[in-house]
Each structure stands twice: as structure tokens, then as C-alpha cells.
């Protein structure tokens, strides 16, 4: 009997604790965003489109496209992750830098520079034989219908920084 009673109390206590717990969470859930609003500017993630360092010195760039690897922080609705990216970078005739995205504008495969003996000094896509000129301009008659996108870029202290890849319309 006493055993029984003890049990009941503890059951009630249990319920009590649980409800308090749930209530607590709810309160925290409601408060947290408000707190965030209050102090937000500091916590605000950096705006997208920021430039990231590639660690590549611009002195090393030549007129020959070279592969530059870099990492960006990608944030979407569910995940935050480091994504490794690649750019084909070279100095154009006028000395300006062009950083091309290696993503084929047809269906997204990785486009290589000068790696197919049949198409020297061109960007070649192994998936469906897509071709691009050195400028990134797509060759008509091959599947891609737009030039390779070009990364926004910047140079700080001699180091190449890359931003968003901007799609380009056919010239």
C-alpha cells in the first residue's frame, strides 16, 4: 500500500518535471529568437558573395590556365559545410585575370583544360564532348549553350581572392 502511494507520487512528480521541462523548452524557443534579434548584428553571418583567399600568388599566374583549388563555407537551410571549389585561372592578353568555373554549362560535369589530345588548348567536357575556347566561350555544335561562368575576383597583397561564379551570356 505504502509502496503504491510512493509510486503514485513519483509518477505525478514525473509528469510535473516533464511538463516543466517542456514548458521550459517552449519558453526558450520563444525567447531565443528575440535574444538573437537584440544582439543580432554581431552574430549575423557574413554576407554571401564574400571573397575567399585561394592562397595563390598572382605572380605565379601565366597565360596558361591553371587549376586553383579553394574552399568556401556554404550555408543553406539545413547544413553548413565546407565545399571545395576549383577555378581555371590565367592572365589574359591585356594582363587582366580570368578565373573560369570548371562546371560545364550543359549538365554540370567537370571541364578540363587541354587534357584531350583531339582538342588542344581548349576546355573539354568528357561527359558529352562539350567544348569551350580558352576564353570560356562555348563552341557551337557541342552540347553546352552558354560560356563557362567566370568567378568574381580580387587581389589582396598579391594573393588571388575569388567570389561568386557569374554566369555569362553568349557573346
Amino acid at each position: 500500500m505504502s509502496q503504491d502511494k510512493k509510486n503514485q507520487v513519483s509518477r505525478r512528480q514525473f509528469l510535473n518535471y516533464t511538463l516543466t521541462g517542456v514548458g521550459g523548452f517552449m519558453a526558450a524557443g520563444m525567447l531565443a529568437p528575440m535574444v538573437r534579434f537584440a544582439i543580432d548584428p554581431v552574430l549575423q553571418p557574413k554576407a554571401q558573395g564574400d571573397y575567399v583567399s585561394t592562397g595563390k600568388s598572382v605572380d605565379e599566374l601565366t597565360s596558361e590556365p591553371q587549376r586553383v583549388d579553394f574552399t568556401i563555407r556554404q550555408v543553406d537551410a539545413w547544413y553548413e559545410s565546407d565545399v571545395s571549389k576549383v577555378a581555371w585561372v590565367y592572365k589574359q592578353e591585356d594582363g587582366s585575370i580570368l578565373a573560369l568555373s570548371p562546371t560545364c554549362t550543359h549538365l554540370g560535369c567537370f571541364v578540363g583544360w587541354n587534357d584531350n589530345e583531339n582538342y588542344p588548348n581548349m576546355f573539354y567536357c568528357p561527359c558529352h564532348d562539350g567544348l569551350y575556347e580558352k576564353s570560356g566561350k562555348n563552341v557551337p555544335g557541342t552540347p553546352p549553350t552558354a560560356p563557362l561562368a567566370a568567378f568574381e575576383h580580387d587581389v589582396k597583397d598579391g594573393i588571388l581572392y575569388l567570389g561568386k561564379a557569374i554566369p555569362r551570356e553568349e557573346a
Partner: protein, 154 residues
């Protein structure tokens, strides 16, 4: 392409360009000595890296299907039928090549009964994916696999 909504929507518009399906074959066990269990999960991570990389480089031509998971065993005879059933269904779509990617050599024994192409490569028993040497080995292997797949396309 991957087995998700975004890619599936792309796929249905571009089926004729996506002629290659890849299925990772993943052995599962939870009753082996601890060491072995750890090794197995390491190998699974490497396999994921492999498939991920292949899918990323060839995303417009390769469809990465969900992994085929099975209880680890030397007797894979009864898995063959199940896997072949997957193959049958995949090939109702206009795929030309179906690859199974695995580190489990037991598949070698039943390979003649498999429809589709088995790509088996050896793997380290265990390792550290953050170490430079391991990364290099893995990258080299990935390169070989990509070469192999490209050879089927020629």
C-alpha cells in the same frame, strides 16, 4: 546526379544524356571484433568519398543510386538475385552502363552471375582520412576509377 529531388527533376529532362548508373555496395556488420568494426566504417567513408568524387566530376552523365547494403558474408549468392532485380529496374531507363563499386572482394566470386559491371578495388584496412598520405592514396585510386569509367564510354 544523386538520388534526390533536385537531381531527379534534372534527370527526367535529360535522360538521354545520363547513361551511367553507379551503385556502391556496402557490407554491414555489427558483430565483429571492435577493431574490425572500426575498419569497416573507415572503408565505408572511403567508398563514400569515391562515389562522391566520381559523381561530382561526371554529374551530367552519372547517376549515383542509393547504396546497396547487405550483411557481410562470404556467401553472396542470395544477394545476387536481389542486386540483379535492381539492375532490371534501373535498365528500364535508358542507361547504358551500370557499375557496382565495392571494396568487398567476396563479390568477385559471384561476378559472373551479376548483370552490370563490378568495379572492385582493394582498400586500406584502416587509416586516417585527415592524413596527407592517406588522402594521396585515396585520390590516386579515385583517379584510376574515373579513368576506368571513362574507358567504358569510349
Amino acid at each position: 546526379m544523386k538520388w534526390n529531388k533536385k537531381d531527379m527533376q534534372k534527370y527526367v529532362q535529360a535522360k538521354e544524356y545520363v547513361d551511367t548508373a553507379i551503385i556502391p555496395l556496402v557490407p554491414f556488420s555489427f558483430n565483429k571484433p571492435d577493431e574490425e568494426q572500426i575498419g569497416l566504417t573507415f572503408q565505408n567513408e572511403v567508398l563514400e568519398l569515391f562515389v562522391d568524387r566520381v559523381e561530382r566530376d561526371f554529374t551530367g552523365r552519372v547517376f549515383q543510386l542509393p547504396s546497396y547494403t547487405y550483411i557481410m558474408s562470404n556467401q553472396l549468392e542470395h544477394e545476387v538475385d536481389r542486386l540483379n532485380a535492381f539492375y532490371q529496374q534501373i535498365n528500364e531507363q535508358p542507361f547504358k552502363h551500370t557499375f557496382y563499386l565495392t571494396f568487398d572482394s567476396s563479390w568477385k566470386r559471384v561476378e559472373p552471375k551479376l548483370e552490370g559491371n563490378l568495379i572492385w578495388t582493394p582498400v586500406m584496412k584502416d587509416g586516417d582520412l585527415t592524413s596527407k598520405e592517406t588522402q594521396k592514396i585515396v585520390m590516386d585510386q579515385i583517379k584510376q576509377i574515373t579513368e576506368l569509367i571513362r574507358n567504358y564510354w569510349i
